[in-house]
Subunit: 461 residues, 2 copies
């Protein structure tokens, strides 16, 4: 989208905020808006353009997300922050069957994330464990995030209570939370609403200046308009209203502009992700984030496939390349996700890691200079010669080309006779090896004890 | 690549042409160069920058490729020309086994191409039939190209003889060949050579002003340098020398700048296509073609996988998106190719067609205006409403979203109980249906008879 188009989206958004408004189903949120002189009507809030601009002026365009291991700090808005799948209720097993996810699965994804050269933010709710009471399971997930990895992690935005628990645990680890130490995902409810829990988690995190992904979007033809321009307006209105609330909670609280959206399949009623329209909403959302000078969230290894088949490869590959090309700053669902957000899978995690490395090189610049052109070698090999035994080939052959962990490069006959024809099985073995070789990062025993005590105490409450 | 980088590649290429030269293993070619005052040494030719510039000034930047059905004419350098796989010796069957390709397979790809909404150029050598004597099989393939489809087709560049046969058959169909009626693929031999057959086929086609894809490239670390900048110089020198020859044969003969290149796998010695490096050579080659104001050839649904697995989806999807994004003008291998050029497959053909439609929409512009924003609908649905039953959704739901032929959009349970979980089987069924429904396009019976007579006569010669 170009600037005149973005201006059209922005102006239409301002009209919707002025005459339709956004509902915050939280008295606390509405009263905070009221305190600051916003026009409200019941749960509806009507931010003016000036009020939106005030908020945008305070929200930073980049910020550092701190890790308990400082070498793993990340600048959000610098290099992409990459977290695994989010919110999946199911696991797809190595044999392709679906089952409910458990806390043990959650631990595996913490470990894979920690040992990954791609993932740099341990997620939250990477799977939605079904073997624990939901009232307390955020504590188990947060404890796992912090214990199994020393990367930055994501907080629990399920309600104000879970947000406060996350903030308490972060205080135990970091001493204070005056700087960004975890990032939490706030989803608006399409169209144009925030659930009470989301609004209050948003206020709690932002109040302590902890970064938020504030995400709009919707299902085109169900909770959002059929056309992308319309979707972007409704989504933008919701996101901007959430950003305004975050800046009322604490001016300068870091926020990431999150967008998404894909159609509903009119024949089955299913929401599907593997659509060209999803790519266009990703690109449009990234353009809007930059228009507002904010980091953006979108993308990931998205697919509607339930197994590592042709569809999964095509959709995840295309989505990850688009994620790179649109310079998405924070990526949920980078690795492991299947079935339109519904399931996680160990082999897919490994496959998505490789796809990310590939799209990273694909989008890199080709170096062109005397050294890379290397006329001497070209002259030495000359007409009809070969480069295979040239010293320059020996010198570069271990580092120049991107290696593969999972892709087949053998001829048909060698591949067939290798007894290793299934790429999903290959990826699954790599995941298992990584999990076997995993080593828990060191943690101060006093902090460990305090975290454990906090979790136990809160579970008894 | 930016202009200063392209200048570096160009200048290095001029140095190689001046001091290393390009070998044409054809006396006819060398003597044509000599006649025009080129410096030569045995089979080596050393074009000067001025001689290269003269050739580039004559080669057109766009041209119309005529079809026997004029509504299927294509402007090369306008919308992309898309042809199926090229040169595959094998077929991968529906069950995944490899077998030698036959003329019957060739006919199937002619039919699929003719009935495709993606393929707009019937290829040549889509598979390399093993059930016919090689001395004459170009006649059978050309006859199939012309009979089974009324699209533009590709000529037979296997030698001067096959080129002349193709020109004769084109004369039977088109009356004369004063305009471009078929396009032929000329591959340089890396590094810096042209085989006798290729050079003489090039001269025959160009002499009759029939368009040529003149393609360099090479296998990085084997027949080409390890680094992309070096590969581009060697490849560019070969391509430009070929283009110079084409313009000596007939000034203004249409040429397409073809480039490619991917690494050799140093552990197995295999050439592989599914590499980030291939993407970078594609982008660099497209940039060089535009630098010279020529249409470019590259891309396709390239993969090293031997079956429609995750790898095939990821590699073909990424390669086809790159093909679109790099605005490749002529695409060989658009549909059907597997196993690093070694095999064709019916299901892959259908899958690649869908991927092409998808990447076409992904790279389209989002329309942003009052009508697509549609504030009235957004206001009518309002806060917390739904778009599903809105008249605007009914109005748009059949046309707005890209449909799918093969991708799953069902939930896991519906997918599992559908008894249709295999995407390759789904794609294969679609191919079969298309082949069953295929209807041969009309052809003047006199032309048909003359073509048949020509082929019979030539086979007896």
């Amino acid at each position: 989208m170009n600037i005149p188009q973005l201006n059209l989206i922005h102006n239409a958004t301002m009209e919707i905020l002025a005459d339709t408004g956004v509902a915050f189903h939280s008295e606390k949120a509405v009263s905070l808006f009221k305190q600051h002189g916003f026009k409200t009507d019941g749960q509806l809030v009507f931010p003016t353009e000036q009020q939106v601009q005030n908020a945008l002026e305070h929200a930073p365009s980049t910020f550092t997300l701190h890790a308990r291991n400082p070498v793993r700090d990340i600048i959000i808005g610098g290099e992409p922050a990459l977290s695994p799948g989010y919110g999946a209720p199911h696991m797809i097993t190595a044999s392709g069957t679906k089952r409910n996810a458990t806390l043990a699965d959650y631990h595996q994804f913490c470990k894979l994330g920690h040992s990954s050269d791609v993932i740099n933010v341990t997620g939250f709710l990477m799977v939605d464990p079904t073997d624990l009471p939901h009232a307390h399971y955020h504590l188990d997930m947060l404890l796992a995030n912090i214990s199994y990895s020393d990367q930055p992690f994501m907080g629990s935005p399920l309600s104000a209570v879970t947000a406060r628990d996350a903030l308490e645990m972060a205080r135990i680890v970091f001493g204070d939370v005056g700087r960004p130490v975890m990032v939490s995902n706030i989803n608006a409810l399409a169209p144009l609403q925030y659930a009470e829990e989301m609004a209050e988690a948003l206020m709690a995190f932002a109040g302590d200046r902890q970064p938020l992904l504030i995400t709009g979007g919707g299902i085109m033809g169900a909770t959002a308009p059929m056309k992308i321009a319309g979707l972007m307006v409704v989504s933008n209105a919701a996101i901007l209203a959430g950003i305004v609330l975050s800046q009322l909670a604490a001016p300068g609280a870091p926020v990431v502009y999150g967008t998404g959206g894909s159609p509903m399949d009119m024949s089955s009623g299913s929401f599907y992700l593997g659509s060209a329209e999803m790519h266009l909403t990703m690109a449009s959302g990234a353009a809007l984030a930059r228009y507002y000078n904010l980091p953006c969230r979108s993308g990931g290894g998205l697919t509607d496939a339930h197994t590592l088949d042709f569809q999964a490869g095509a959709q995840a590959g295309l989505a990850l390349l688009a994620t790179r090309q649109n310079r998405i700053d924070f990526v949920l669902h980078t690795c492991g996700i299947l079935g339109a957000y519904m399931a996680m899978n160990l082999a897919k995690f490994i496959a998505d890691e490789e796809l990310w490395r590939t799209v990273t090189k694909i989008t890199s610049e080709v170096a062109v200079d005397e050294n890379t052109i290397d006329l001497d070698t070209i002259r030495e090999v000359g007409v009809g010669g070969q480069y295979l035994t040239h010293p320059r080939t020996f010198e570069l052959c271990r580092t120049e080309f991107q290696p593969t962990e999972i892709m087949n490069r053998l001829s048909y006959d060698s591949w067939q006779s290798s007894d290793d024809t299934d790429i999903a099985a290959r990826a699954y073995r790599i995941a298992q090896k990584r999990l076997e070789a995993y080593e828990k990062p060191d943690m101060d025993p006093a902090i460990q004890r305090d975290l454990q005590n906090f979790v136990s105490k809160r579970k008894q409450a």
